[in-house]
């Protein structure tokens, strides 16, 4: 059953909606259940009657809520579906052929295409139609089989980076057979050769429908270099208004991570099929480019790989003699610079400095001797693929290099002295160049008549000489020789790089020769005939989506095919490695024309989108759950069980608990909150449970005593973990010493020192009655020394009789704990504190002593249980009780000292104190 855009899978269930009014009546008749409440004032309620009986009926809005929930359940169970799949007309019976272009152009909407295909296969499976899928890129004889079998292979179906060649289409047609079937053709939107023939073949066998994405195809042509700029041109198949695109230049950053190095926004004009733009990049970045890509287009046509032709070569020029000022034309490097300037980057500098930059070419003009380090570094660089270009000259001729044995960095041995021909003092004519032989890299270069050589260095005849000569004079003497070293080569021009010995540097031939030697990189795309007979090895290839993948398993490709042949399974777009350079073969040729498809009007062409079937049952059931939840809250509220304040508080507590549950810092925060809202005495946790309990009980007892006797009303004491707790909140830390407690970490010591410097006080208690005397060798004393070693503790002295601790609250002269009469140590008084005549005490420290050290085990003397009874015995009989009392008084004085500082040192108190002291 279908109502508008919604269909139902189980429409009969909707009949249950008729039962809703009955449910309304039933619910209306039942009042909410009562709450039982304890209430002493019930006596006063006895005999009170209710005025009316309205609330025994459920209010209408609550009923409505419940009705809606029930209706949502019923409708949800009836299985509503938004946009149910339409039943197609009855024409589609019999086998179904699905033809896929599956080229790079269809990669742009591959996901949608695959989804549509999946739906189509599912439908065919429901109707048990046999299905065959024909990929025109890789045609096979179509095999009709169950749709489910195809469906399982759907995920492996991916577009290729090439388009179907005419021979492939022929193969496809020949495999179609004579049976009739329906054809659905997923087109990529581009017209290819042989398409009409194929369409005719399909139509001869049954109805044909076309599926094609309406999104326009964009393509990026290979980048061209002109005058130092990179020219990029993008193309599209149809004019579809103004469109902005962004071309990104991808490459590796200095650390080798692929990223976008630059981007170039382009805009197609209203009726333009092509747009061009120039990108200017520094040579450094240009050398690292890997490919250009139109942003957001995920197909191989929008990717253009770059090869060596984009790179400007880096050439290092090194001359053997200092340039003389004003003699530029005589400089050995002048003509080289002129020849290389437009096309290459020239590096200057000493050889050793230049080598780490790894230039492509190093030119040594008339450099004879190299130091050992230079020679080995240069050799290593050459072996790794560098090209060393040497020029002869007076120095080379005069030196003994490569005389008897061949030097590693020279292609040939040289004879002494060289020769001069055609000079004023010689008989011969200057020699011209002989035509280049076929195996020379300079083959077919035209030789101008006016190029003559009047002086040169001579090569020593050797067995290998003939192989190494790549250019010679008309009399057969070598002019240019070459030797390969590892992956690199050494080339020697037997003349100078300036015009002293020959007119070669003045001619255009010189530049062409440098080009042929790949010294300058004016490398244009090679012609097919140039590459005949070479084999190129694929390094990386593009798939249909424009992703590069490793191509180590693919066979090599011959050079002429690489340049000229159409792409296909055996010639994939990608990067190819050749004898001395890399070539990129792109999907899009240099000057592409993208022709859109034009289908005959009789064929139905549909896009790739279709309305998605959306079952609504789950949503409706969830809605009913939400409504029932609301009903619970409403019922509770109505019956008075939902006390607003308490419910809010409970909700806040629950929510807060949920939020804080994984938070380990909650306890910390509570501690901090407690410590900052009240006065809290704290003790350091030693890890010894009994000792920690004693310390806690002691501080509890002291706290109770303070509570009853003074206006200081501390709350229960807190144990402090030095590693994790904040210390700043506690005025006083009690630190009992035990020999086996752990030494705090460095961070904890930092905290402790900050605490001591900012006015905190630590009471160290060795608890051993100082049996061995302070600082001596009792275990606790030793441990105290260890613990305090890293603490910022000022000089100490025995607590003097006039210390403010003796009079902050009680007047004390003795500071017993469980043990009595042992000295207590505090911060030493300043040495200049002097007793003033008539004053009972000196004006001592201005602040609070940061530490108090003793061994009287005060905590045990203070300790109280919950009923305020002392826990540990102190002394004997009344004297013991007196000692305990004095211990409490010491504790009170201590806390008062911490909280009031040197208040009692003030001279204002002197008269009162004198009176109390009876003086």
């Amino acid at each position: 059953m279908i109502l508008g855009p919604i269909g139902f899978t189980a429409p009969w269930l909707l009949l249950a909606l008729a039962a809703l009014p009955i449910l309304w009546l039933i619910l209306r008749a039942v009042p909410p259940a009562p709450v039982r409440r304890m209430f002493p004032g019930v006596v006063l309620l006895l005999g009170l009657r209710d005025d009316d009986s309205v609330t025994d009926r459920t209010p209408w809005w609550l009923l409505l809520l419940r009705m809606l929930a029930a209706a949502a359940i019923i409708i949800g169970l009836a299985g509503p579906v938004l946009n149910p799949e339409e039943k197609s007309a009855g024409t589609d019976r019999g086998p179904l052929l699905i033809a896929l272009d599956a080229s790079w152009a269809s990669a742009r909407d591959w996901a949608a295409q695959r989804e549509l295909l999946d739906g189509m296969l599912a439908e065919a499976g429901r109707k048990s139609r046999p299905v065959a899928i024909l990929r025109l890129n890789d045609p096979e004889t179509p095999v009709f089989q169950a749709a489910e079998a195809w469906r399982s292979r759907l995920t492996g179906l991916e577009p290729d980076a090439w388009v179907a060649a005419p021979d492939m289409i022929e193969t496809a047609i020949s495999g179609l057979g004579d049976d009739t079937f329906e054809t659905r053709w997923f087109s990529d939107g581009l017209a290819h050769d042989g398409r009409d023939v194929l369409l005719d073949a399909f139509e001869a066998r049954g109805p044909v429908s076309i599926y094609e994405s309406p999104r326009p195809v964009l393509a990026l042509a290979p980048a061209q270099v002109s005058e130092g700029l990179i020219q990029l041109s993008a193309h599209r198949a149809r004019t579809a208004g103004i469109r902005d695109i962004l071309v990104e230049a991808h490459g590796r950053d200095p650390s080798g991570v692929p990223r976008v190095l630059a981007s170039l926004p382009l805009q197609f004009a209203e009726n333009a099929l092509e747009v061009q733009g120039d990108l200017s990049l520094p040579a450094e970045l240009r050398a690292r480019l890997t490919h250009f890509e139109i942003a957001g287009q995920r197909h191989a046509g929008a990717v253009s790989l770059t090869d060596d032709s984009l790179k400007r070569r880096e050439v290092a020029l090194i001359a053997g003699r200092e340039d003389r000022e004003g003699l530029e034309l005589l400089s050995p490097l002048h003509y080289l610079e002129q020849a290389l300037q437009p096309t290459a980057d020239i590096l200057d500098g000493a050889l050793i400095d230049v080598l780490p930059a790894n230039p492509d070419v190093i030119v040594l003009a008339d450099v004879a001797t190299l130091s050992g380090a230079e020679q080995s570094a240069l050799l290593e660089w050459t072996q790794k693929g560098g090209m060393l270009l040497r020029f002869a000259g007076p120095r080379l001729a005069a030196s003994d290099i490569s005389r008897d044995t061949e030097a590693p960095l020279m292609p040939v041995r040289l004879r002494v002295g060289g020769r001069m021909v055609g000079g004023a003092m010689s008989w011969g004519e200057p020699k011209a160049l002989a035509p280049f032989s076929e195996d020379s890299p300079f083959h077919r270069l035209a030789i101008p008549r006016d190029v003559t050589v009047s002086a040169q260095v001579m090569a020593q005849p050797d067995p290998t000489l003939a192989d190494r000569v790549i250019a010679q004079l008309s009399d057969g003497t070598p002019l240019v020789t070459r030797k390969r070293i590892g992956e690199g080569q050494v080339v020697l021009f037997h003349v100078t790089a300036n015009a002293e010995w020959s007119s070669l540097p003045l001619s255009g031939l010189f530049v062409q020769m440098l080009e042929r030697l790949a010294v300058s990189s004016a490398l244009t795309a090679p012609e097919a005939k140039d590459l005949e007979g070479t084999i190129w090895k694929p390094v990386q290839v593009l798939d249909g989506f424009g992703k590069l993948s490793d191509a180590a398993t693919l066979p090599g490709v011959s050079g002429d095919r690489l340049v000229a042949a159409a792409l296909g399974p055996d010639l994939r777009p990608g990067i190819y490695d050749g004898p001395d350079r890399r070539l990129a073969r792109n999907v899009i040729p240099a000057d592409p024309t993208l022709t859109p498809t034009s289908w005959p009007a009789r064929l139905p062409v549909t896009g790739l989108t279709r309305p998605v079937e959306a079952p609504l049952g789950g949503w409706l059931l969830a809605l009913s759950l939400v409504l029932l939840m609301a009903d619970i809250l409403a019922s509770l509220g109505l019956s008075g069980r939902l006390m607003p304040a308490r419910a809010t508080r409970a909700a806040v507590i629950v929510l807060g608990g949920l939020m804080l549950l994984p938070d380990a810092g909650k306890a910390q925060d509570e501690k901090a909150q407690l410590a900052t809202s009240e006065v809290v005495l704290a003790h350091i946790l030693t890890g010894d449970a009994a000792l920690d309990e004693a310390a806690r009980a002691g501080l509890f007892g002291l706290g109770q005593t303070l509570f009853f006797r003074t206006s200081v009303e501390p709350v229960d004491p807190i144990g402090i973990n030095l590693e994790s707790d904040e210390l700043a909140f506690y005025p006083l830390l009690y630190w009992p010493i035990t020999p086996d407690q752990p030494t705090p970490s460095a961070e904890a010591y930092t905290k402790l020192n900050t605490y001591l410097r900012t006015g905190g006080m630590i009471l160290f208690d060795t608890r051993d009655a100082n049996i061995a005397g302070f600082g001596a060798s009792s275990p606790n004393g030793i441990k105290l020394k260890q613990l305090a070693a890293s603490l910022d503790i000022p000089p100490l002295e025995r607590l003097p009789d006039d210390h403010v601790l003796t009079r902050t609250f009680y007047l004390l002269q003795d500071f017993p704990g469980r043990h009595s009469g042992r000295p207590v140590w505090v911060e030493a008084a300043p040495p200049d504190a002097e007793k003033i005549e008539g004053m009972p005490f000196r004006n001592l420290n201005d602040g609070v002593t940061p530490v108090v050290i003793g061994g009287n085990d005060w905590a045990s003397a203070w300790a109280m249980d919950e009923r305020l009874n002392p826990i540990y015995p102190v002394g004997r009989g009344f004297a013991g009780e007196r000692q305990r009392e004095l211990a409490y008084r010491f504790g009170i004085n201590l806390v008062m000292h911490v909280l009031t500082g040197n208040y009692k040192s003030d001279q204002v108190h002197v008269p009162a104190l004198l009176q109390r002291l009876g003086q």
């Binding site: 209430f39 019930v42 006596v43 009170l48 209710d50 008075g640 009923r867």
Partner: protein, 292 residues
């Protein structure tokens, strides 16, 4: 004897409550001593009350010779406690007192005991004798009496509501009744008139929970007494509020009128208020009663 362990542990648990009640009461009482009424009257620490001429029957030991030597007459140093009165307490221990509407509020009985004990401490320190009605504790003074009072206050009654017990009230003595006075009013009236007949002056302190004062209930509810003997069902609790408050007010008026007629003093205290304010009032009420 059969189960000494539970008995002992129960006894200890029971005993543990007492010192805390005593301590809290002492702390509460301590705040009053520091206050307005602290040293206006002579107490035990300053035991002099007045000199009066020697009368026949006075023991010679009581003669203050230093004072007598300054004149021709002989004087007796009279101490304040010698005219001390007996104050009898009645604290409602019925089930209705064991109610607190919020978990962070004290129960009414807890507040009642705290106030009774605190005022006892003050009275004992002032030299009065304090006891409990119902023949449970005759009046006495001193620390031991305070401990006995603490113990006597710890008993819970089983009934839902209780009426003042006038047994053991001493004629021309003083009395303090603490209850919520939620039960039947007639026994209260009887007890009060009887006490007034015997010349007893006293104080009635009504302790109520804030929920009893505000009646914040809504919806269909069955109200039950704490003991469970009484129940009342309503369909709409919020409708009852006004009439309940009316009845409560009339109950208060009745109590107030009763105390006015008998020369007693009446105060209503809520557990949400601080115990100290009630203690101040009680202390002041005893002071006022004394001057009468």
């Amino acid at each position: 004897m059969n189960q000494p362990v539970p008995l002992r542990s129960r006894a200890e648990a029971e005993a543990a409550r007492l010192p805390s009640l005593l301590a809290r009461a002492e702390h509460l009482a301590g705040t009053v001593l520091l206050g307005e009424h602290g040293r206006r009257r002579s107490g035990l620490g300053d035991d002099f009350w007045q000199y009066r001429p020697v009368q026949p029957g006075d023991s010679r030991r009581t003669i203050d010779w230093r004072r007598s030597a300054r004149s021709d007459m002989q004087f007796v140093r009279q101490r304040e406690w010698q005219i001390a009165q007996s104050v009898m307490l009645w604290v409602d221990s019925a089930a209705s007192m064991r109610f607190a509407s919020e978990p962070d509020l004290p129960q009414k009985s807890d507040r009642a005991r705290l106030l009774a004990l605190a005022v006892s401490i003050l009275l004992v320190r002032g030299g009065e004798r304090v006891g409990m009605t119902g023949q449970s504790l005759p009046p006495g003074r001193g620390e031991p009496q305070l401990r006995r009072l603490t113990e006597a206050l710890g008993h819970d009654g089983a009934d839902d509501y209780a009426a003042p017990d006038t047994n053991g009230l001493m004629s021309h003595g003083r009395a303090l009744f603490i209850s919520d006075f939620m039960g039947d009013i007639d026994p209260v009236r009887t007890a009060l008139t009887e006490a007034a007949d015997r010349g007893i002056q006293g104080i009635m302190l009504q302790i109520l929970d804030p929920a009893e004062e505000a009646f914040p209930y809504r919806g269909r509810t069955i109200f039950e007494s704490v003991g469970g003997t009484l129940a009342h069902e309503t369909l709409k609790a919020s409708e009852l509020r006004d009439r309940y408050l009316e009845r409560l007010a009339s109950r208060k008026d009745e109590l107030s009128a009763l105390t006015l007629a008998t020369g007693w003093q009446y105060h209503c205290h809520h557990t949400s208020q601080s115990a100290q304010s009630a203690l101040m009032w009680l202390y002041g009420a005893f002071e006022r009663g004394r001057f009468r």
